[in-house]
């Protein structure tokens, strides 16, 4: 009987390769929106200013002449009130003085209608170009004008008398002296 000679006996085993993952770098990228700051280094105001004199719109109103009794007893009147004046008063005040009611709250302008005082008489008189006997009739004419004009002295009855006396003087001058008015 022959012997089986085994010269080599190897085993082959077929296996699947199992490679290692080799990592030499691993970084993270993240995409984000930037959020910038608003940065302000200066903020100034320009104002264009007119160099012309500018007058604001004005209103004018007539003031009512009242007396102190009305000021004291008017329910709407309070001496401590200020505002746009609606009335004026002069009685119980010194000459050439008047008051406003209510007391003005702002600056304003007063329009005052008045009769200026006449020139002080010097006593030297004025030469008239009429005879001395007719000078009284000039007085009657002046009185007629004063009493016939608007104002506190208006008196039409007495003014009419003065006009008659003045006309009398004119007629006499015409008859006696051959003169005219």
């Amino acid at each position: 009987m022959a012997n089986a000679d085994v010269f080599q006996s190897v085993r082959e085993g077929f296996t699947l390769a199992s490679p290692n993952a080799r990592v030499t770098q691993s970084v993270r990228e993240s995409f984000t929106l930037t959020s910038p700051n608003a940065r302000v280094t200066q903020s100034v105001r320009e104002a264009f200013i007119s160099l012309n004199t500018f007058l604001p719109t004005t209103t004018t109103s007539v003031l009512t002449n009242v007396d102190t009794w009305e000021l004291d007893n008017s329910p709407a009147s309070n001496p401590l009130d200020t505002g746009t004046p609606i009335a004026w008063n002069e009685n119980l005040l010194d000459q050439q003085r008047f008051s406003l009611a209510p007391t003005p709250a702002n600056n304003g302008t007063i329009g005052f209608l008045y009769i200026q005082l006449a020139t002080t008489l010097t006593g030297l008189g004025v030469n008239f170009a009429v005879p001395d006997d007719w000078t009284p009739y000039i007085m009657w004419g002046a009185l007629a004008e004063l009493l016939g004009s608007d104002g506190s002295a208006y008196d039409p009855v007495r003014a009419n008398y003065c006009v008659q006396r003045y006309n009398e003087g004119v007629e006499l001058a015409r008859l006696v002296l051959g003169g005219s008015q």
Binding site: A38, R39, V40, T41, S43, R45, F48, L51
Partner: protein, 362 residues
């Protein structure tokens, strides 16, 4: 027309040059100057700063075509031109056609005249239009306030020049030089004088505004102030500020602006509102907020100006997208938000009491 129209808001643009110091660059106030233009107190008409020209000029593009406009400015020729020369004061320019419509010049006798060509700030014009003003209309070394109404048209064109409120030139006829019947740029200053010239207190009207912003505003000046206090209302100042100013209004009051002292915010609806000094004068025509701002990183950040009068806000209306470098922006106001009427019809106290500030819109 209300709102923005090119550089005009409600018909108005202005610059008193007071917040500029040193060599004037573009930076959003004007286009890049031609030559060297310097801002400083020695050139001022009254106070603050004026600008100095040495054969140079400032250029302001309108970014809108205007058939008619009014330009007002104060101008001082330190010396008049020598005999035979013409000193250029202003040039009305058509960028589209790259040509001059009108040039205003002064001669050695102090007479003013318009020309239809040349100019461009440096070129001496040669074709007069209309009559010159009398000799001695201006004298050397004194500020005068110029207001010029121009209508560019070949048939019904017009030029009216007022000096200190008085009309010295009034022309009707052909005012058109280029192929277009409009101007879209104004150049202030130029060559030709026998020395430097100064300017201050400038305004421009596009003629689309409501009265009184569609006619001559009259002899006026621009008072420029930085803020002097935070808002009278609490909670209206939420920006953070750098030191050492210590206050947000302090940073905004710097003249010139200081890049190291600023207010900063990325918070939407963050707001700052400031009070300003009283205004001295008889009548305020309009207000204008000039501010320098930027965004400090990539992205988008927008701001808007808010005028606050008697606790009533006037916002924007248009938010401004900020660039990455410091740039000037402005937002005029012609209407008092408290009354709904023009500032011109109100009181100086009301205009002076108006708070002004900025808000982060987005």
């Amino acid at each position: 027309m209300a709102g923005w129209n090119g550089i005009f808001f409600n018909g108005v643009w202005s610059c008193g040059f007071d917040f500029l110091v040193g060599t004037v660059t573009s930076g959003g106030v004007v286009d890049a100057p031609f030559g060297t233009v310097v801002a400083g107190p020695s050139f001022a008409r009254f106070s603050g700063n004026g600008v100095n020209f040495s054969a140079s000029y400032l250029q302001r593009s309108f970014f809108v075509n205007l058939p008619s406009c009014i330009v007002g400015f104060a101008y001082n020729a330190v010396q008049l031109p020598i005999a035979g020369n013409l000193g250029i004061i202003g040039t009305w320019y058509d960028v589209t056609a790259n040509g001059v419509q009108l040039t205003l010049v002064c001669n050695s006798l102090g007479a003013l005249q318009f020309y239809t060509n040349g100019g461009i700030g440096i070129s001496i014009p040669s074709i007069p239009i209309g009559s010159a003003s009398p000799a001695g209309t201006i004298i050397a070394g004194a500020y005068n306030f110029y207001e010029v109404l121009t209508t560019i048209d070949p048939l019904v064109g017009a030029i009216q020049l007022r000096i200190n409120g008085n009309t010295v030139i009034n022309f009707s006829g052909n005012t058109k030089t280029t192929t277009n019947s409009y101007v879209n740029q104004f150049r202030l200053g130029g060559a030709g004088f026998n020395g430097a010239t100064h300017a201050d207190d400038m305004y421009i009207l596009d003629m689309t505004g409501s009265s009184p912003y569609n006619t001559f505003l009259g002899n006026g000046r621009i008072q420029t102030d930085g803020p002097n206090a935070d808002s009278a209302s609490g909670g209206l100042n939420t920006w953070t500020f750098t030191s050492p100013q210590g206050t947000d209004w302090g940073n905004c009051a710097n003249i010139p602006a200081n890049a190291a002292q600023f207010n900063s915010s990325s918070t939407v609806n963050a707001r700052m509102s400031f009070r300003f000094p009283s205004i001295i004068g008889n009548r305020v025509l309009f207000l204008n907020n000039w501010y320098q701002a930027q965004e400090d990183a990539a992205g988008t950040r927008t701001l808007t100006t808010i005028y606050r009068s008697n606790n009533v806000d006037q916002v924007g209306p248009t938010p401004v997208s900020l660039p990455g470098t410091p740039t000037y922006f402005n937002q005029p106001s012609t209407i008092d938000p408290n009354t709904g009427q023009s500032w011109a019809s109100g009181t100086v106290v009301a205009a002076g009491s108006c708070e002004i500030g900025l808000e982060v819109v987005s």
